[in-house]
Symmetry: C2
Subunit: 216 residues, 2 copies
């Protein structure tokens, strides 16, 4: 049996469990976002700002995926948001089975919006369906404007692009227009928001869009 | 046959080819650096500054690893440095076999220092020996000071840490001391340099160290 056959079987099995997760989440009227990016693009900081905005308004929960440590889960827990930590012990992406196990630890009746913070990696998480409603990819201005061209699959599979760290633009050789253009050349349907997890700029627009279009 | 068995066999086969690469490189008196980091940490920018410093002094070549595009190879070629592009077509790391094939395209008699720029990924490239003399990991200040704790294997397997984008420190919530401390807590033997691929600060120290300690 070849490696490729094994890989296909792994993905088939993953997709099967992802479908079960999707059915369970739908049954509980939970909208689920699979949040993906490079390491250090600001997934957790943007989640913190999002929780501040939704505090007392939208019932939110988080599944945190990390190769090691529960540092991000500790940060998130400060916002009184239910959080389940998955440590992948070296694996570079979350799989549907890990999410299925994590869902068992959440009180699903009390969640309307679920964020799954994936492992920081622009490659492998693109291939693994977790049962989410949509993938949201974060690209930081500090990473340069060519990343959508270099890691196209992630931008192709995402529904929303959050361009983060726009407060740093004056100090970078990164063109916001070029970054948007490159992302839309890969996926013209991408909904794009420019934000700063540090200053909070743009977070209101992103959250308002979520509220009016997503959370029913 | 289980997935784990297959994975072990893939890694064993990889290590075997990596040993062949290592022997070939040693025979040709080439010092080889496997350059690893997250996407957008500044691998290519630091290479450009390194080539400027070594221009006319050290015979350098590059193997560029990318998921898609030859954008980095085009940037590097401007420095009159021999460059071979590997496009992994979706794979999230380089493997020894790909490097072996790339080595066949280089005139090894005319190279003293070889950089292999790996795919931007802090997880999987840590597991794949390519036949290099050492791994050099780049961590950008913009990624935050916790990355060594969250992606420990890469920092454990590297010999040198280049902390890049130090010109941005005044605008970030990142402590240089904390970043160094976290990296050294994972791997006390790490040689650490602070650099800026944008301003060139610290590049002289990094290159001088390479010249006096590495390139014989």
């Amino acid at each position: 049996m070849s490696v490729i056959t094994i890989e296909r079987k792994v993905l088939e099995k993953n997709d099967e469990i992802a479908s079960q997760n999707r059915a369970l989440l739908k049954e509980n009227k939970i909208f689920t976002i699979n949040l993906v990016s490079s390491p250090g693009s600001g997934k957790t900081s943007l989640l913190e700002k999002t929780f501040e905005h939704f505090s007392g308004k939208v019932k939110t929960a988080v599944i945190e995926g990390d190769v090691q440590t529960n540092l991000d889960a500790e940060r998130v827990a400060k916002y009184n948001v239910p959080v389940v930590q998955i440590v992948t012990n070296g694996a570079c992406h979350l799989e549907a089975k890990l999410v299925k196990d994590a869902l068992e630890s959440l009180n699903l009746k009390d969640v309307h919006l679920l964020f799954i913070e994936n492992v920081g990696n622009l490659v492998c998480p693109a291939a693994y369906d977790l049962g989410e409603d949509m993938k949201v990819v974060i690209a930081s201005t500090t990473e340069g404007d060519d990343k959508p061209l270099k890691y196209p699959r992630m931008f192709l599979n995402a529904s929303v692009l959050l361009i983060n760290k726009i407060d740093l633009l004056p100090y970078l050789d990164c063109s916001l227009e070029e970054l948007k253009k490159n992302a839309l050349s890969i996926n013209p349907a991408l909904k794009v928001f420019t934000v700063s997890g540090r200053t909070g700029k743009g977070v209101k627009e992103w959250c308002s869009w979520l509220e009016s279009n997503i959370i029913k």
